[in-house]
């Protein structure tokens, strides 16, 4: 009796343990199913696994993530991305948005500058040339400017070729000549970028101290920024317009350089999505940069008498300095022993 009792007790304990284990298992399965494990294994009526219940479709994967990624057996890690439909989005950006956006921005800026020229004409030195010169930019300053400027123009043209060359140049010179040209342009673009970055750094270091906002900038804006002939707009070494060009160039320059170097070392820092974003940032910043520099070139050459020589010979006419940078001129006169150079005898 005792024995059988003990036996039955053990049996009860055993069956309890079994059912507890079973319940735990069922609980675990339920937890897994309920915790949103979408592809949990189900069994067919005959006990065989039903592959349909465990299958994962492309659409399911792409709903979870913008791309389907897995494991590969080859060392090329970027090949693990199986499908990235974003490629088509990037194609749309590059072929539609960028083409139209860049065309509108660049042609629009040209049109605005042409309009400015027609309405305002060339801004003359009101008092005429004095014949007296004062140094505005030293050699190192002009070197930094022209290093950046020349490399910018080269980068701009070779860059625009990648976007617009096939629409404008290819029909004119044919596929093989265009390919050869674009190949060379690509290498020029990649290597001249280093000169541009050196120039950008030099410009930032040299000119930053004169480009911080000042009280006089408000006055300059109130007086119409020198565009209203009856009003004199006061300014220090750089007026607010020039400061804007400085800071925008610095910002766009950093954006273009950073994204450019990501593109120059593909996939070494980022993945396919990062590469696409880098290209978008590069293109958008570059187009805005081109528009900005077009305006900068206009005001520095055609738009204003006496402006170009500041970066050309480095010396400006004293009357020009009086009209556009009076506070800077006053400072120069106060701080330097002989800032004004020779009254050249005017031509007969």
């Amino acid at each position: 009796m005792m024995h059988s009792g003990r036996f039955s007790m053990t049996r009860v304990a055993n069956s309890l343990a079994v059912s507890l284990r079973g319940a735990l298992f069922i609980l675990a399965v339920m937890l897994v199913t309920m915790s949103g494990f979408a592809f949990a294994q189900k069994l067919n009526p005959d006990g065989s696994p039903n592959p349909d219940a465990s299958h994962v479709s492309e659409q399911q994967l792409l709903k979870l993530l913008p791309r389907a990624e897995g494991r590969i057996d080859i060392p090329d890690t970027k090949a693990a991305v199986l499908i990235q439909p974003m490629g088509r989005t990037w194609d749309y950006f590059h072929e539609v948005l960028l083409h139209w956006g860049a065309a509108i921005v660049i042609v629009g800026t040209l049109a605005l500058l042409a309009l400015a020229y027609l309405v305002m004409g060339r801004l003359r030195i009101e008092g005429g040339r004095s014949g007296l010169k004062i140094v505005r930019f030293k050699a190192i300053e002009r070197f930094s400017h022209w290093l950046t400027a020349v490399s910018f123009v080269v980068l701009g043209l070779t860059g625009l070729n990648i976007t617009f060359g096939k629409l404008l140049l290819l029909p004119m010179i044919g596929p093989q000549a265009f390919s050869d040209l674009s190949q060379i342009a690509k290498y020029i673009h990649n290597f001249v970028s280093f000169a541009f970055v050196v120039g950008l750094v030099l410009i930032a270091v040299i000119f930053i101290k004169d480009n911080f906002p000042a009280k006089v900038d408000i006055e300059w804006v109130k007086k119409g920024g020198g565009f209203i002939k009856s009003k004199h707009a006061p300014a220090g070494r750089f007026n607010l317009g020039e400061k804007a060009v400085f800071w925008l160039s610095l910002g766009l320059g950093v954006a273009v350089s950073a994204s450019g170097y990501l593109l120059l070392f593909p996939f070494s820092v980022t993945d396919i999505f990062g590469m696409q974003i880098a290209q978008v940032v590069h293109a958008v910043a570059a187009v805005l940069f081109v528009a900005l520099i077009m305006a900068h070139i206009y005001i520095g050459t055609l738009g204003m008498e006496g402006a170009f020589e500041a970066m050309g010979s480095g010396e400006v006419d004293v009357n020009w300095a009086k009209e556009h940078h009076d506070q800077w001129l006053a400072q120069k006169l106060a701080n330097e022993p002989h800032p004004i150079r020779g009254a050249a005898t005017p031509a007969e």
Partner: protein
């Protein structure tokens, strides 16, 4: 005209990589270039599937669209080919390709990728070389298609997971398979490549 497509029946793919090997051997591609590869989704988890992927020869191919020198184009059979004489190795096709198909013989730093290489559907090259010539083979690999044959990867797939041929026919084969066995994880990449899936 037939519209050539690839279809990988992932419920049949066993990740044997014979397609990738056959491709390398048939086309004598350089080391490091993988025109076809097998990607395993959900590796070691429920729902694991392997998918063999190469250029899908897309409708409105985004690579052709973004190419700055217009070296990529579709043939009348819908096969996307390119000219290595015109390619400048800018890498844009890789950014646009939804399937990671374009390959480059060099690492790519400082813009030196070399000429792009990708699956040609074993249909030779898109350059000026004579179809089936040694020059064409050297640059682009095999031209089985010119001999009336389908790509070797699909032809020698041991489980007949990878199908190549006219899009309508391989879609029909896939539909019948799904109906018969009662399941299917879908035609991988078709929605993205051809703007249409396969309704079963």
């Amino acid at each position: 005209m037939a519209r050539m497509k690839f279809l990988c029946d992932a419920d049949r793919c066993i990740d044997c990589n014979a397609c990738a090997t056959a491709c390398k051997n048939e086309n004598e591609v350089p080391w490091g270039i993988n025109r076809r590869r097998v990607v395993t989704i959900n590796d070691g988890r429920p729902g694991e599937r392997s998918v063999s992927m190469a250029c899908m020869h897309c409708t409105d191919a985004p690579c052709a669209s973004v190419c700055p020198v217009e070296c990529i184009y579709p043939t009348e059979d819908g096969i996307v080919l390119h000219s290595k004489d015109v390619c400048i190795g800018c890498g844009y096709c890789f950014y646009a390709c939804p399937f990671g198909a374009p390959q480059y013989p060099k690492v790519g730093n400082f813009g030196s990728r070399g000429k792009m290489d990708k699956c040609t559907y074993c249909a030779g090259g898109g350059g000026t070389e004579v179809s089936g010539s040694a020059e064409e083979y050297e640059k682009y690999g095999s031209n089985r298609f010119g001999e009336g044959k389908l790509p070797l990867c699909a032809e020698m797939c041991s489980t007949k997971s990878l199908l190549a041929g006219d899009g309508d026919i391989i879609a029909q084969i896939y539909k019948e398979r799904v109906l018969k066995r009662g399941y299917g994880s879908g035609a991988w990449g078709w929605m993205t490549a051809y703007h249409e899936g396969i309704e079963v």
